[in-house]
């Protein structure tokens, strides 16, 4: 109960959690229900403002913006989960190898990580999509690759300090295998900063996917993606502003939610890092 109170006392955590639950809830709901089919066109009702029948208005094909924003949430959450999943699983594996074994494994892994880390997400995505072609899967891979060095550096740093702790040395002295030591003694203690980073990386992944879709490299039409919706709305801004407003608001709410949740979790789980600046993609 005290633990729960500690979480609920953090204003960043509470607001972040509410926003994230809102976005995730919308994403799940959109799989079962949207007011209209997100891809249904009705040219006679194109570029309408918000009304009772279309709460967020309609776009240049007369598609319901609310339905598309709702389905876009599912798209963003999927990209976030897969991209952060790729980055976290490979990053933790490489970081653990480098931090635990040290020596040339550490040196070689971290040099390669440094090179990837120097590439902004958009540049990584451009390289990958120029070869594999635009599409949601390739953009998830690109954002995932961008995340690998972030998790690798974090894990390595934690492993370097944790592997010298008394309880790890004791486990080694009683003959536990390296794998058992990592799994039972080091990884559980390195988990908090990883959870915080995963939350912040989720926000970065949503931003990156929106950016790539805006550029035409991510989600392909007619599937609704917030970034793509903004791109399609731009030529018609003089006629109706709503298609350029609601998808942007959705991105901002989702990113704000994950950022605040990350800040809150960091304050609660890892107070030492409470004031470190956040990086941007």
């Amino acid at each position: 109960m005290t633990e729960m109170r500690r979480f609920l006392k953090d204003i960043n955590f509470v607001i972040g959690l509410i926003l994230v639950m809102m976005v995730a809830g919308t994403a799940i709901l959109s799989l079962f229900y949207t007011p209209y089919d997100p891809n249904r066109m009705e040219i006679s009702a194109r570029l309408q403002g918000p009304s009772k029948s279309h709460w967020f208005g309609t776009d240049h094909y007369g598609r319901d913006i609310l339905s598309r924003v709702m389905r876009g949430a599912a798209n963003s959450i999927t990209v976030g989960v897969i991209a952060v999943g790729i980055g976290m699983s490979l990053g933790v594996l490489l970081g653990a190898l480098a931090g635990y074994w040290g020596g040339w494994v550490d040196e070689a892994t971290m040099r390669v990580m440094d090179v990837i880390y120097g590439f902004p997400a958009v540049l990584t995505a451009i390289l990958i999509t120029s070869i594999l072609g635009p599409g949601i899967t390739n953009s998830m891979i690109a954002i995932g690759i961008y995340n690998i060095p972030i998790f690798a550096r974090l894990t390595r740093g934690n492993f370097l300090s944790l592997k010298e702790r008394d309880y790890v040395l004791a486990a080694r002295a009683v003959g536990q295998t390296d794998l058992a030591i990592i799994r039972k003694h080091i990884l559980p203690n390195a988990l908090s900063p990883l959870i915080v980073q995963a939350t912040v990386s989720f926000a970065v992944a949503i931003l990156a996917e929106a950016g790539l879709s805006y550029l035409g490299l991510g989600t392909q039409p007619p599937h609704p993606s917030w970034g793509r919706m903004l791109n399609e709305a731009q030529p018609f801004m003089g006629l109706s502003i709503w298609p350029a407003i609601f998808p942007g608001l959705a991105i901002a709410i989702a990113v704000l939610g994950f950022n605040l949740l990350g800040d809150g979790l960091r304050d609660i789980l890892d107070p030492r890092l409470a004031h470190s600046p956040r990086s941007i993609a």
Partner: protein, 315 residues
């Protein structure tokens, strides 16, 4: 310091080398046949053979890589664009006239927005002004630069018609007009960065304001302006300048999206067009150029850090 500079320079060269291998490998080796990617699946064997010969794909990859690298280092030659049929270095140079000033203006606007806001927040710590600034900073981080760009176009170009959007007047034609057409894109680019730098200025200032020499300055009765701007800001500036420097490289990547929003003929548009037209040598050249700028800027910032703060010692 000299030993550190040499060590850091060697790391720079190795990193640049690794970056070039990575980019070359991704574009030339991983896909198997770049000619097939350029021409698509419906290309005839004759056209495929012609493009393969033009790109030198009949030679081993290592030989092609070494040639590519040698030409860049010795002659600044990044190869030739397939679509424009012009040297890529020429294309980059002409587009840099848009992207360079855009990035510079964005950095300037970032400083003009973020540093006063950060100082204000720190000097009004835990008061409404501080909370307001932190809310701005959170919102700045949440708003993607391309949406910021769209909102700026809506407000300042479509509604109030104060700035142009959607075209670029060249520097030779009308320099002031060119600067005007870069203002909104630079502002869009700077908002996210300003959010980061505001937070950083605030936290650096809060830290410095706790130092003994600041307390001494206050107790000597110095006016608050002198304490804040002369004593505190100078020291808080070190970390701010470092992060600003590191942002310059990433700004170049950010320009890719913002140039698309504002239809600016910069490097971002060049690389985007190259992707959709499958002009792989241009993608390869521009990505290497941007990555190299990022690595070199990081190197310079690293060295400047030591010069700005004499307390830092490199052993």
């Amino acid at each position: 310091m000299i030993a550190y500079t040499i060590r850091r320079f060697i790391t720079l060269v190795v990193t640049l080398f690794l970056v070039s291998i990575l980019i070359f490998a991704v574009i030339n080796i991983i896909p198997g046949d770049p000619a097939q990617i350029i021409l698509g699946t419906e290309a005839t064997p004759e056209t495929l053979a012609r493009v393969r010969a033009k790109l030198g794909l009949d030679r081993p990859a290592v030989e092609r890589y070494l040639d590519w690298l040698k030409n860049i280092i010795l002659h600044g030659d990044f190869g030739r664009s397939i679509n424009y049929d012009r040297p890529i270095s020429e294309l980059i140079a002409s587009r840099l006239l848009v992207t360079g000033p855009l990035a510079g203006l964005a950095i300037l606007l970032t400083m003009l927005i973020a540093i006063p806001l950060g100082i204000y927040a720190a000097t009004h710590h835990n008061r409404p002004g501080d909370y307001g600034t932190m809310i701005f900073s959170q919102l700045g981080l949440a708003i993607p630069e391309f949406w910021a760009g769209i909102l700026l176009i809506l407000g300042f170009a479509v509604h109030w018609r104060l700035f142009p959007a959607g075209w670029f007047t060249s520097w030779e034609e009308a320099p002031l007009e060119a600067l005007r057409s870069l203002f909104l894109p630079a502002l869009a680019l700077s908002l996210t960065r300003a959010a980061v730098i505001t937070r950083l200025t605030r936290s650096s200032m809060l830290e410095v304001l706790q130092e003994d020499y600041i307390k001494t300055a206050w107790s000597k009765g110095l006016p608050s302006g002198a304490v804040i701007y002369k004593h505190a800001l100078r020291n808080a500036f070190i970390s701010v300048v470092t992060i600003l420097g590191l942002q310059l490289g990433h700004l170049l990547a950010g320009t890719i999206i913002v140039e698309t929003v504002f239809y600016l003929p910069g490097m971002g548009r060049l690389v985007m067009n190259a992707i959709f037209q499958r002009d792989l040598p241009v993608v390869q050249g521009v990505v290497l150029f941007i990555a190299a700028v990022i690595v070199i800027v990081n190197f310079i910032v690293d060295l400047l850090y030591g010069l700005l703060d004499p307390r830092i010692r490199y052993d």
